[in-house]
Symmetry: C2
Subunit: 193 residues, 2 copies
Amino acid sequence: MTVKYLLENNFKVTSYKKGEVIYEPDMHPKAVYFIKSGRVKMVTVNDDGKEFIQGIFKASEYFGEPALLLNKPYLAYTIATQDTEIIPVRKEEFLKLIEDLKGFSMKLIQTLSNRLFYKSMMLEELANEQAEHRIRTLISYLFKDAAQGEELKITRQQLADMSGLRVETVIRIVKKLASQQEIKLMKGKVVKL
Amino acid sequence: MTVKYLLENNFKVTSYKKGEVIYEPDMHPKAVYFIKSGRVKMVTVNDDGKEFIQGIFKASEYFGEPALLLNKPYLAYTIATQDTEIIPVRKEEFLKLIEDLKGFSMKLIQTLSNRLFYKSMMLEELANEQAEHRIRTLISYLFKDAAQGEELKITRQQLADMSGLRVETVIRIVKKLASQQEIKLMKGKVVKL
DNA sequence: GGCAATTTATGATGCAGATCATACTTTATA
DNA sequence: TATAAAGTATGATCTGCATCATAAATTGCC
């Protein structure tokens, strides 16, 4: 996997504390960010200060390529949601990865395609579906690769910020889904059944 | 441009009448579709039959690669919104384009990145912004490369289906924007000023 | 050029989810 | 092991846009 390759080739690791900003809107992209460990959220913030979570990135994933490759300023903030180690790969080096690293370019195309699938799904939900349907779809997407009994590492507020709803609404719906046995709650955490 | 290359290499052209369906949800992808002439909309339809327009594709553009490259069934319908000529490129041939055609792979990555930008922008709008803001953003995006005086080739219904609003709402807002001199109306068509 | 279909227009009413307020529970941290 | 902070919970009220109804203007087409 690419992070291992980068470490073997002496790329440097940068540490970010929980809450630290990696980049913000309007900045000119300088690198692609590979996550060695930790967790990062990508959020856009509107004029009223409301956040929308565009995506959540975990260890071994990377982010920030679209803006870099299009030479456009970032639209979003990326923020470490826990202590995180990141390997920044500068543009020329990233382009070299695409050229040289066998299969990397196809992998990147598939990564972008997966993100498009997710965004298409959410657009459809936000455009046409009621609150309950949105949360059902979102939770089942987030549980996609999870085992039975596993718990969501995501708060109600984050579900709200991903679905365009308010926390109170998400809380009410999650309770309802639990009462209908669609999910289980343990100490407030959503658990897959 | 790639369509020219395909025509020179004897790829076959298929014709679709206005309203004809090119592919539909759950179908297994067989090809990538290059548009020689015409116009195609990509729409998802929910259980109540409400449409959401995921994208609109014009001559020289192509669609359908993400599902093909991920080996996933389509999520959306693609429908010719006028008489359209299409060059279907089968998977092996498309993979060959990526491998062989110099620069094609990077172009594809940029195309996917642009679609991600659009979807991120619209997600933010649908999640957090009021109707008027959504329509402003959408219209200015659609007019991005247009000259002053050019008219939108898009109906109120289509704006509604792209923004998650109802036609009536879009009509009221478009009238308001016109009255505020943000756009001009000529025989009902939205014109850039 | 005339008729049908599509698109635009406008008013009246209803409702899902936002907003506001207030409290309880779980988790972090000093 | 306190105590603060973050997250979950619940009720009451308010509102932007959907929905419904009905008509006028524009476009397509034989």
